[in-house]
């Protein structure tokens, strides 16, 4: 079959809502799009461990500490799972991580904002995980099988995280004046970046149309953003917190995306430091595994 016929059959399968599996024929552009999107997603989980990890050692109660530790560990697990799903497209996790460390790969810009207070941990759970769920639930029906299956599992845990974040905010909102102030300031800080997580307005979104045709994406950026606002505003009212008024400043979005957010350099530097200072450990593990293989060969 020639490429045009294969492409036609591929699109017919997509249109029939069939799942594409790793061994199936797929257009190069589809493969590249998935590798880009899935690896960005994996990187986001890994980089996302940093702003929240910032409060593990200072969580205000042991119960909150345990919940936060488990949450950050879940994110690491999501990262591992998503790197694994991306590897089904013919790339290696090591190569993807090298791209991240080289500054050549993107991850969700939201993690380039800092977490100066405990309330930021609540706001991240409530708003950032909330926005992530809005984005990710449609991905559970994404045309690429391994990605769709990964998202089913991830969405379950994310909705748990979202509730935990809201629970932090609720405790603060019902707390002392200082705690309420902390909660309001965190909402003020995270509201706009959370809305930006849905990506640029539909008119400016360069990947959207093709991704919709491939059923990697099912709803437009603006549609998902509108749903998130509808969902979240009553929750803020219940907390007695004021949702910031005004318009999204898209120049801020562009700036952070271009590497000029408050924490871009710090986040990548932290990942590089972990990678570099772990080199001798990874080398030791490889050397040990080689020795075991030679021993087994000698024994045969």
């Amino acid at each position: 079959m020639d490429t045009a016929a294969l492409a036609e059959r591929f699109q017919a399968r997509i249109d029939a809502d069939e799942r594409i599996e790793p061994k199936d024929w797929m257009p190069d552009a589809y493969r590249r799009t998935l590798i880009r999107q899935m690896s960005q997603h994996a990187h986001s989980e890994i980089v996302g461990m940093l702003p929240e990890g910032n409060w593990i050692t200072r969580a205000p109660t042991l119960k909150r500490k345990a919940i936060l530790m488990a949450k950050v560990q879940d994110e690491g697990g999501h990262g591992a799972y998503l790197y694994g799903a991306t590897e089904t497209l013919g790339v290696t996790r090591d190569a993807l991580i090298e791209e991240l460390l080289a500054g050549a790969a993107r991850y969700s810009s939201i993690f380039n904002y800092p977490t100066p207070t405990w309330a930021d941990i609540g706001a991240i759970g409530w708003l950032v995980d909330g926005a992530a769920i809005m984005n990710q639930i449609p991905l559970c029906r994404c045309s690429y099988g391994p990605y769709a299956r990964a998202m089913v599992r991830i969405c379950k845990e994310e909705s748990f995280h979202q509730r935990q974040g809201y629970d932090i905010m609720l405790a603060l909102a019902r707390g002392t004046d200082a705690q309420r102030r902390m909660a309001q300031e965190a909402l003020d800080r995270w509201w706009w970046p959370a809305l930006m997580m849905f990506g640029p307005p539909d008119a400016d979104s360069k990947h959207s149309a093709q991704s919709m045709r491939w059923r990697i994406k099912r709803f437009s950026n603006d549609e998902l953003r509108r749903r998130f606002i509808e969902f979240t505003v009553p929750q803020a009212e219940y907390l007695g917190l004021a949702v910031p008024q005004g318009e999204i400043d898209w120049s801020e979005f562009e700036q952070v995306l271009a590497g000029h957010g408050p924490c871009n350099r710090e986040r990548i530097a932290a990942r590089r430091r972990a990678h570099e200072s772990g080199r001798w450990v990874r080398e030791a593990a490889l050397a040990w595994a080689d020795k075991q293989r030679s021993k087994r060969r000698e024994a045969v």
Binding site: L50, G53, T61, A66, M69, V72, L172, G278, A284
Partner: protein
């Protein structure tokens, strides 16, 4: 007085176990997001979570034994370092991955021996906690011992580094198996364990893994240092200052 330690030997005995787990969980928490590879990040976080869970059960039990209404958070966040009763090994800084793994291995091997015997304690609550914790500690020990072997018998660099970790941390292991008045009293009461038996089991486990890792067991150190009696070095104060800062900044607040 609400910020003091626990005087009753039974409560003090449980508090020691709780504090060691809590301080080590806090140390491991510093690693999350920064480990040499994703799997190690998950492994260290897993151990940290288990130790924190054990610490919470033990702190609650110690508070109940004391009977003055102190819960896990009052004991964790409102005691000064002089009233912390963790073994000094666990307050040692993380250092590099090798330091962290050796510290973990020495502690895990001790916990497995300890919990295995505490299951027979006359304190049924403590025995129940130990039974549950033993399963977790066995898993932690597989992770840490596995890494001691890979680092010890890996590259010349890793061998040298991890032998250095072992040499530096070894002096802090002396108190693990050296009984004091509280240990003697709790053994006599059927609550605590026989540390001589723990010592024999710990020696066997440590020697077996070190031999597999081609590492040399350091000579026992002549001086004695007892974190479990409140003797701490310079590191615990900072660890607690960080851990307790937010809780203490808002007295009486609910979170």
């Amino acid at each position: 007085m609400s910020a003091a330690g626990i005087d009753d030997p039974h409560g003090a005995y449980v508090l020691r176990l709780a504090d060691s787990n809590l301080v080590l969980a806090q140390r491991l928490g510093e690693w999350i997001g920064h480990a040499p590879a994703l799997e190690e990040d998950l492994g260290l976080a897993n151990t940290a979570l288990d130790l924190l869970g054990q610490a919470r059960l033990l702190l609650t039990h110690a508070g109940d034994l004391e009977g003055r209404g102190r819960d896990e958070d009052a004991l964790a966040f409102l005691r000064e370092e002089r009233d912390y009763r963790n073994v000094a090994l666990v307050e040692q800084p993380n250092g590099d991955f090798g330091d962290t793994i050796v510290r973990q291995f020495l502690y895990d091997a001790w916990q497995v021996e300890l919990y295995g015997r505490l299951g027979a304690s006359r304190d049924r609550q403590l025995a129940a906690i130990a039974d549950k914790a033993l399963k977790e500690s066995n898993y932690h020990l597989r992770f840490s011992a596995g890494w001691v072997v890979r680092l010890g018998d890996g590259t010349p660099e890793s061998h040298e580094r991890v032998q250095g970790s072992l040499d530096r941390l070894w002096p802090w292991t002396v108190e693990l198996c050296e009984p004091d008045d509280i240990d003697h009293a709790m053994l006599a009461a059927g609550v605590g364990v026989d540390l001589a038996a723990v010592r024999a089991g710990w020696d066997r486990r440590v020697d077996r893994t070190l031999s597999e890792a081609t590492l040399v067991r350091p000579a026992d150190h002549p001086w004695r240092w007892f974190g479990k009696r409140g003797q701490h070095g310079e590191h615990l104060g900072r660890l607690l200052a960080e851990m307790q800062s937010l809780h203490r900044a808002h007295p009486g607040a609910q979170w």
